[in-house]
């Protein structure tokens, strides 16, 4: 067990990811305010993206923009570009989801005049 904790302490960004993911998850599921739920959702999505970006890191490597135009490329000197591509797509998906969810929130507010989930459920009945 102690070994495991030591292993985790060597990846502080993983611990940050876990904290953000769980906290956001909790807010997203249990908070009663719709906008707060979306803030939780935003944090969950960014934390997953954070996890993906952390995969790409290589010790002592630089950004994946090639320095010299010609000549062979040493792959170990550049960070892994594929997770960056995945995260770019995931960020776009995130902002698209945010747009749709905010549109739903605005439509719900127009109909029920509140952002409190329990209030809305009361008015539904």
């Amino acid at each position: 067990m102690l070994e495991l904790i030591e292993v985790w302490l060597h990846r502080p960004n993983f611990i940050a990811f876990v904290i953000l993911f769980l906290w956001g998850f909790y807010i997203m599921v249990t908070h009663h305010n719709l906008v707060k739920k979306l803030i939780g959702m935003y944090i969950v999505q960014t934390s997953v993206i954070f996890f993906l970006v952390a995969i790409s890191a290589k010790t002592g490597a630089t950004v994946p923009i090639l320095l010299s135009g010609t000549g062979p490329v040493q792959a170990a000197t550049y960070t892994n570009p594929l997770p960056h591509v995945l995260t770019l797509t995931a960020i776009v998906v995130q902002i698209a989801t945010l747009g749709v969810s905010l549109a739903l929130v605005a439509a719900i507010y127009r109909k029920y005049g509140t952002l409190d989930e329990d209030e809305i459920l009361k008015r539904l009945e």
Binding site: L4, H10, R11, P12, N13, F14, V18, I19, L20, L22, W23, G24, F25, Y26, T30, H32, V35, K36, L38, I39, G40, I43, T46, I49, F50, V53, A54, S56, A57, K58, A61, P64, I65, L66, G69, V73, A75, N80, P81, L82, P83, H84, T87, L88, T89, I91, V92, V93, I95, A96, L98, G99, V100, L102, A103, V105, A106, Y109, L115, D116
Partner: protein, 176 residues
């Protein structure tokens, strides 16, 4: 590997996330969320992902904040409830389980920054080595995004198009 630069950033990250979650007034919460995005972009730049950091700074700190604010202007800017009910039992059981699963699964991941990890040696070197020869594009992220995996990018663009159409469908009742 030293963490002297990273640790303070990560602490700031969690603090700003906590601020966005805990602040009752929603407009400040959204601004704090914007600063959270900004710190996230810094961390990513530090991790060697300038493209992702750039997008996060523009989209997360900029666009998302604008979307949130526009919605809040049209709706209620405050979380008026004072007392919060106790957390449901399912969350109390489920979250620790999920956290345990996350940590359990991570214990077999390759070390952080390991240049010999499968992700670093299997496919990605092909992109790095051939990008210049295949596409004349020095920014490998762009060449993977727009050529090697261009189809994903097409669908990504479709996602944002879908979101635009969905907002029109949900919110604009009078004009097409």
């Amino acid at each position: 590997m030293t963490f002297s630069f990273e640790i303070p950033l990560l602490i700031l990250l969690i603090l700003t996330a906590g601020g966005a979650i805990l602040v009752k007034d929603l407009v400040p919460a959204v601004f704090i969320l914007g600063s959270y995005s900004f710190f996230l972009a810094l961390v990513w730049a530090w991790l060697g992902a300038p493209d992702v950091a750039f997008v996060e700074a523009v989209v997360g700190a900029g666009l998302a904040t604008v979307f949130f604010l526009l919605t809040l202007f049209e709706t209620a800017p405050k979380d008026t409830r004072l007392h919060r009910p106790p957390p449901p039992l399912a969350a109390l059981i489920g979250l620790p389980l999920l956290g345990f699963l996350l940590l359990y699964a991570a214990s077999d991941l390759p070390n952080f920054g390991d240049p010999a990890s499968p992700a670093s040696v299997h496919i990605s070197p092909v992109y790095l080595e051939n990008s210049m020869h295949d596409t004349l594009t020095p920014n490998v992220v762009t060449s993977v995004l727009m050529d090697y995996r261009a189809f994903d990018t097409l669908i990504e663009t479709v996602v944002i198009f879908t979101a635009g159409i969905a907002c029109v469908l949900l919110l604009r009742r009078n004009q097409a």
